[in-house]
C-alpha cells in the first residue's frame, strides 16, 4: 500500500519535498492480541481496557480497522508519586495498534513511561490523547527501542488547560520507519513542552511532525529536538508554533539541532512559526552540520580518539534532553546509543 | 518659594500584581532651585516613585496627586510630562538597535523644543558636553546604547540631561554599579546642569555621589512612605547607622 502521512495542514511548494512523507509498505494486520503490561501504583487511578473492531485514526493520517483502547483517568487532586509504566516487548513480526487516553482531572499529577522493544521486525501504531485539566501536571516519556526492521508510528494529541503543565519526551532509538505526530493545544497560563532525542542509523526514515498552538494568554510552547544521523538515514522535521489570535503575552520556542555523522544521510527541516498576535515572543533556532574542528582537536589533545570525541560532543547535545530523565532511563539510553554508534 | 514638584498622598500598585501596594500615601515637595535626595533600603519604593511621576505603564496610581509647575500631571502621558520639563535618568537605560546616538539626540531635542535644532550649534553643544563627561565623540555614530558598558550608558543619560535642559531632573540610581571615577563624572554633570531655576531629585542608596554636591534636603523612604526629612547631615547619619531606626 502507498501512504502519504504527516501532511502539513497548509502545504508549501512541492519542490521543497516537505509537505508530507510518502511511504510504501504492506498493510499490517492486527490480531487483537498481545497486551501492554501496566506496572506501578495503580490504586488511586482508574484504568479501563477494551478491544475495539472499529477504525483508529489520528492526525498522522494513518488508519487501521481494529485496536485496543486503554483509558486512564487520574482523579481530581490525586498525585501519583512514581511513574506508571506501560511496556511491551514484541515477538517476531508482531503488530500492535493501541490507543491510550489519559485524562487528568483538576490538580492531579502523574507521570507515564511507554517503553517498546523488539528483537527484529515489529509494527507499533500508538495513538495517545492527553487531556490535562486545570492545574494538572504530567510527564509522558515514550521510548522506542524497537528492532532494526521495525515500524514505529506514534501520534499524540493533547489539550493543556489553565495553569496545567505537560511534558512529552520522545526517545527515538530504533526501527527502520519512525513516524511521530504531535498536536498540542496550549490554553491560558499553561505550559506545553516537547523534548525529542533521536539517532537515525542504517537506511532508516525518520519523520517528525509537530504542531503546537498557543491558544490563549500567557501560554508557553516549547519544542526542543536533539538528534544525529548516521549511515544512510533520512530525517524530516516539521515543527510549527502557531500563535492564534488572542494569545497575547505568550511564548513559543522551537529549537532543532541535528548532527550529521555520515556523507550519505540527509536532514530536512521546516521550523515554522505562524503568528496572528502581536504581543508574543516567538523564537526558533535550527542548527545542523558537523562538529567543529576546534572542539574535536581540543578533545583529541586530551587523549580521545576522533570517534570518542564525536560521541562526547553528541552526548553533550543529548544531555539537554537526558538531564531531566530518571537515571535508569538515562543509562538504558546511553547503552542503546553506544550500541548504535559502535 | 515656588513649588516645582508636589506629591500629595500618593498610592500606587504594580500593574502586573494589583495586590502589591508599593507607595502608601507618599508626600513630597521639591521647590525650584533645590537639590533633594531620596534614600531608602531596597524595595522601599524609590524607583517606583520615579517611574510613577513619569506615568510608567508598570504602575497604577490608586490615590493621590502629582503636580508639576502647578499643573496636575497625575494621569498625564509620559511624553507630555517630559515636554513640560521633567527628565529621568534610568537605572537600566534601554538599548535601541539600529538608531545612532546622534540621530537619537537630535530627535529627542526636536520633540522637546518643538523645533529642529540648529545642526551646527547643536553638534558643538553635543561635542562640548561629551568632552565634559569624558565620552568619546565617535560614540555619536554608534547604535544607541548597544554594546555600551554600564558606565557609558549612565554617562549617556547625563549627556541627555545636559542637552535637553529639563526643569526637574530625576536621577534614579544613576550612581549604582559605577566606579569612583564614573561617579565623579556624574556629579560633574549634575554641577554643570544645576542653576537657580532648576531642581534635582537624586534617588540613591549610597552617599558617595552626595560628597561633592550641595544638597538641600534628604528624605528617607521606607515601605512606601517618607519617614524622615532633614538636611545633608541626615545622609551622614544613615551612612553610619543604616535604616534600622526607621524600620518598624
Amino acid at each position: 500500500m502507498k501512504y502519504r502521512l504527516n501532511a502539513l495542514p497548509v502545504p508549501t511548494t512541492n519542490h521543497f519535498h516537505i509537505n508530507d512523507i510518502s511511504l510504501e509498505f504492506p498493510k499490517p494486520k492486527y490480531h487483537m492480541e498481545g497486551d501492554l503490561q501496566i506496572e506501578g501504583d495503580l490504586s488511586s487511578i482508574v484504568i479501563e481496557r477494551e478491544f475495539l473492531g472499529k477504525k483508529l485514526t489520528s492526525k498522522m493520517g494513518f488508519e487501521v480497522d481494529s485496536y485496543q483502547e486503554i483509558r486512564i483517568t487520574i482523579p481530581k487532586g490525586v498525585h501519583v508519586a512514581k511513574p506508571i509504566v506501560l511496556s511491551h516487548h514484541f515477538s517476531s513480526r508482531e503488530v500492535l495498534f493501541t490507543k491510550i487516553i489519559l485524562t487528568y482531572l483538576e490538580d492531579s499529577s502523574c507521570d507515564f513511561t511507554f517503553t517498546f522493544s523488539s528483537d527484529d521486525t515489529s509494527f507499533l501504531y500508538l495513538v495517545e490523547e492527553a487531556h490535562l485539566g486545570v492545574g494538572a501536571e504530567g510527564n509522558v516519556l515514550f521510548s522506542n527501542f524497537l528492532g532494526d526492521t521495525s515500524y514505529c508510528f506514534y501520534a499524540q494529541e493533547n489539550v493543556v488547560e489553565e495553569g496545567a503543565k505537560l511534558t512529552h519526551t520522545l526517545l527515538d532509538l530504533g526501527g527502520s520507519v519512525r513516524l511521530y505526530h504531535g498536536f498540542g493545544r496550549t490554553l491560558a497560563s499553561s505550559m506545553n513542552q516537547l523534548r525529542v532525542l533521536y539517532l537515525g542509523d542504517k537506511e532508516s526514515t525518520l519523520d517528525f511532525h509537530f504542531y503546537y498552538q498557543n491558544e490563549e494568554k500567557h501560554s508557553t510552547n516549547s519544542i526542543l529536538v536533539e538528534g544525529a544521523l548516521k549511515d544512510s538515514s533520512c530525517k524530516n522535521f516539521r515543527g510549527t508554533i502557531d500563535f492564534l489570535k488572542g494569545c497575547s503575552s505568550s511564548v513559543g520556542e522551537e529549537n532543532e539541532n541535528c548532527i550529521l555523522l555520515s556523507d550519505t544521510c540527509r536532514s530536512r527541516s521546516l521550523p515554522q512559526m505562524l503568528c496572528h498576535e502581536e504581543d508574543v515572543v516567538g523564537t526558533h533556532g535550527v542548527s545542523s552540520g558537523h562538529i567543529s574542528q576546534d572542539t574535536l582537536f581540543y578533545l583529541m589533545s586530551r587523549g580521545l580518539s576522533e570517534k570518542e570525541a564525536y560521541h562526547v560532543i553528541l552526548m553533550g547535545n543529548f544531555s539537554r534532553i537526558l538531564k531531566d530523565l530518571p537515571e535508569e532511563v538515562v543509562s538504558q539510553v546511553i547503552d542503546k546509543i553506544e550500541e548504535m554508534l559502535a | 518659594m515656588k513649588k516645582l514638584l508636589e506629591i500629595k498622598h500618593l498610592n500606587t500598585i504594580a500593574e502586573d500584581d494589583p495586590s502589591k501596594q508599593i507607595l502608601k500615601g507618599l508626600d513630597l515637595v521639591i521647590p525650584e532651585g533645590e537639590v533633594h535626595v531620596i534614600m531608602g533600603p531596597n524595595g522601599s519604593g524609590k524607583s517606583t516613585l520615579a517611574n510613577t511621576i513619569f506615568s510608567s505603564p508598570r504602575y497604577l496610581i490608586t490615590d493621590g496627586e502629582i503636580y508639576f509647575d502647578g499643573c496636575d500631571i497625575t494621569h498625564e502621558k509620559t511624553d507630555k510630562i517630559a515636554k513640560m520639563g521633567v527628565f529621568m535618568s534610568f537605572q537600566t537605560p534601554e538599548e535601541i538597535p539600529g538608531i545612532r546616538l546622534a540621530q537619537f539626540l537630535k530627535t529627542a531635542k526636536h520633540s522637546m523644543t518643538g523645533e529642529k535644532p540648529n545642526l551646527y550649534s547643536f553638534t558643538k553643544e553635543v561635542e562640548k558636553n561629551m568632552e565634559e563627561l569624558g565620552m568619546k565623540y565617535e560614540y555619536v555614530n554608534r547604535e544607541f546604547n548597544v554594546g555600551f558598558s554600564g558606565g557609558e550608558k549612565k554617562k549617556n543619560e547625563i549627556l541627555q540631561m545636559l542637552l535637553l535642559q529639563p526643569k526637574l531632573a530625576i536621577l534614579d540610581e544613576t550612581d549604582s554599579g559605577l566606579d569612583v571615577d564614573a561617579i565623579r563624572t556624574v556629579s560633574r554633570g549634575i554641577e554643570l546642569y544645576k542653576n537657580e531655576h532648576n531642581s534635582v531629585l537624586i534617588i540613591t542608596h549610597s552617599t558617595k555621589i552626595l560628597e561633592s554636591l550641595k544638597v538641600d534636603k534628604v528624605h528617607v523612604l521606607v515601605d512606601g512612605k517618607i519617614v524622615a526629612s532633614g538636611d545633608s547631615s541626615l545622609a551622614s547619619t544613615i551612612e553610619k547607622n543604616g535604616y534600622q531606626d526607621y524600620i518598624k
Partner: protein, 466 residues
C-alpha cells in the same frame, strides 16, 4: 531614482503620478495571434518566436500554485498583455515624450543618472523608452541596452544565456512571461571590467489593468564587477495590474554582482516575479531587496552556487500594510565545495497586512565545507496582522556549518515608554523603532536609495503611526 530634495520639497505621493495617454495601444488576450504580433513588432528572429509559442502552450497546461496566497480571484482576461507607447527607445531624456518624461522627472530618475549612475534605463508600461550608458563604459565594451535591442544586436550572446537560468516551464506565470515578454535590460560586463557607479533600470507601469513582463539578463564575465539597481513603481488604480517579470543573472568566475531592488508597486498589483542567479567559482552575488508595494507578491530569488568558493549574500525587508499579502523569501542551492551564504530577512506587518517568509536552503552532497547562516526577524505592529515564517532546510552532506534563527515579536512597551520620557509621542516612538529595525537593511543600499527607503517606510507608517 528620487533624490533627497525631491522628497523634502514635495508633500504629494510622487509614486501616484498618473498620465492620460489616449494614443496607447493596448492588446488583450492570450492568443497566438498577439504573441506573433508582439514578435513581429519587435522584428524578432524566429528562434525567439518559437520560445514565445512554446511558452504560451505551456501556460495553458500549468496550474496556479497549490500553496501560498490564493490567486483564484484573479481574472487574467482583464489584463492587457501588451501596451505599446507611441514613442520608440531614445538615448537622450529630451527626446522622451513630455508626458512620460514628466513621470520620470518626478521620480527623480534623470537627476540621479547625472549624479550617481554609470548608466540608466527607463521602461514605461511594456516598452523601454530610454537607455543610456556613459561613454567611458561604452569604450570598455560594457553593453547596456534594452532586452529587445540586445536580441537584435547581440544575438549570439543572448542566445547563449537566455532561458538558461530560468527555464520556460518553471511555473505558470513564467510561461506567461516567456510568451509575452517585452522590455527589460540586457547587460554584459566584459572580463575584468569594473563599474565604479551602478547601472539602474527603472520600471514604471502606468496603464491601468495592464501587465508588465520585462526580461532582464545580466552577464558579469570573469573578474568583472557590477552594481545594478532596479526600481519599480506604479500609480494606484482600481483595476488589477500584473507584473510577471523575469531576471536572469550569470556571475562568472571571480565576478561580483550586487543586484538591488526597491519595489514599490501600487496596492493593486499582483507581483509574480521570478529571479535566478548562477554563480561560478569564486564569484559573489549580493541581493538587496526592499518590498513595499503590491497587493500580492510571490518572489523567491534563487541563487545557485555552482563553483568552488561561490558566495551569496541576501538582504531583504518587506513591509505589508492593509490589504497586502507579501509572500517572499529565497532559495539557495549549494552545489560546490566551500560555498557560503548569508541571509538577513526582516519583515514588518501592520493594519492586517500579511508577511510570509518562505525559503529553501539546499546543501548538495558535493558542497563540502560550506557555510550557511540564515536569520529572519518579524515585527508585528498590531494583532490584526499576520507574520508567518516557513523555512525549509535540506542538508545532504555532513561537512557543513549551518544555522538558522528566527524571531517574531512586537515593539517593547518599555522601549516606547523610555522614548516617551524623552518627549516623543507614542506614534513617533513607534516610528523611530521601526526605522531602527529597518536600519541594517537600509544601510545596504546606496545612500540615495536608503533615503528613498526611509521615505517609503514613512509613507507606510502614515495613518496608523505618525
Amino acid at each position: 531614482m528620487a533624490k533627497k530634495d525631491v522628497f523634502s520639497s514635495s508633500q504629494e505621493n510622487i509614486y501616484d503620478t498618473k498620465t492620460n495617454h489616449p494614443t496607447l495601444q493596448k492588446e488583450y488576450g492570450f492568443t497566438e495571434e498577439i504573441v506573433k504580433k508582439i514578435s513581429k513588432d519587435k522584428e524578432e528572429p524566429d528562434w525567439v518566436l518559437e520560445i514565445r509559442l512554446k511558452a504560451l502552450k505551456k501556460f495553458y497546461e500549468l496550474e496556479d500554485p497549490s500553496w501560498g496566497p490564493d490567486l483564484s480571484f484573479f481574472d487574467l482576461s482583464q489584463i492587457a498583455t501588451y501596451v505599446k507607447p507611441v514613442s520608440g527607445e531614445v538615448r537622450k531624456w529630451e527626446d522622451v515624450p513630455e508626458e512620460i518624461r514628466n513621470v520620470f522627472d518626478k521620480l527623480g530618475i534623470p537627476d540621479a543618472e547625472k549624479e550617481a549612475l554609470a548608466g540608466s534605463g527607463a521602461q514605461f508600461d511594456s516598452q523601454i523608452v530610454y537607455h543610456n550608458l556613459t561613454e567611458e563604459f561604452q569604450k570598455k565594451g560594457v553593453i547596456y541596452t534594452s532586452f529587445d535591442e540586445g536580441i537584435r544586436k547581440y544575438p549570439d550572446l543572448v542566445k547563449k544565456y537566455f532561458t538558461k537560468a530560468v527555464p520556460i516551464f518553471d511555473h505558470k506565470y513564467i510561461a506567461l512571461h516567456y510568451a509575452f515578454f517585452s522590455g527589460g535590460s540586457f547587460v554584459y560586463i566584459p572580463k575584468g571590467a569594473r563599474l565604479d557607479r551602478p547601472l539602474q533600470s527603472y520600471f514604471r507601469l502606468n496603464a491601468p489593468g495592464a501587465g508588465q513582463f520585462e526580461h532582464t539578463l545580466i552577464i558579469v564575465d570573469e573578474g568583472a564587477e557590477l552594481q545594478f539597481i532596479e526600481g519599480c513603481s506604479a500609480p494606484g488604480y482600481n483595476e488589477l495590474n500584473l507584473h510577471a517579470g523575469c531576471v536572469e543573472l550569470f556571475v562568472l568566475k571571480n565576478a561580483y554582482l550586487r543586484f538591488s531592488t526597491i519595489e514599490n508597486w501600487s496596492k493593486n498589483m499582483l507581483n509574480l516575479n521570478t529571479k535566478k542567479c548562477f554563480v561560478e567559482e569564486g564569484g559573489k552575488i549580493e541581493w538587496i531587496m526592499g518590498s513595499f508595494g503590491s497587493k500580492i507578491s510571490m518572489l523567491y530569488p534563487l541563487s545557485v552556487l555552482n563553483g568552488v568558493g561561490a558566495k551569496c549574500e541576501f538582504t531583504n525587508i518587506s513591509f505589508a500594510g492593509a490589504g497586502q499579502n507579501l509572500d517572499t523569501g529565497l532559495k539557495i542551492i549549494h552545489n560546490a565545495p566551500l560555498t557560503s551564504s548569508l541571509v538577513h530577512s526582516k519583515s514588518i506587518s501592520k493594519d492586517g497586512g500579511i508577511c510570509t517568509f518562505r525559503s529553501h536552503a539546499l546543501v548538495r552532497k558535493n558542497a563540502k565545507n560550506s557555510q550557511l547562516s540564515l536569520s529572519c526577524e518579524s515585527l508585528m505592529l498590531d494583532s490584526e496582522s499576520r507574520s508567518d515564517t516557513i523555512p525549509v532546510n535540506t542538508l545532504e552532506t555532513e561537512n557543513v556549518t549551518f544555522s538558522h534563527e528566527a524571531k517574531i515579536g512586537k515593539i517593547s512597551d518599555q522601549t516606547i515608554y523610555y522614548l516617551m520620557t524623552r518627549g516623543l509621542s507614542e506614534e513617533e516612538a513607534k516610528g523611530l523603532i521601526v526605522r531602527g529595525f529597518a536600519e541594517p537593511i537600509a544601510k545596504a543600499f546606496p545612500v540615495e536609495y536608503a533615503v528613498e527607503m526611509n521615505r517609503l517606510i514613512d509613507l507606510e507608517l502614515e495613518g496608523s503611526i505618525g
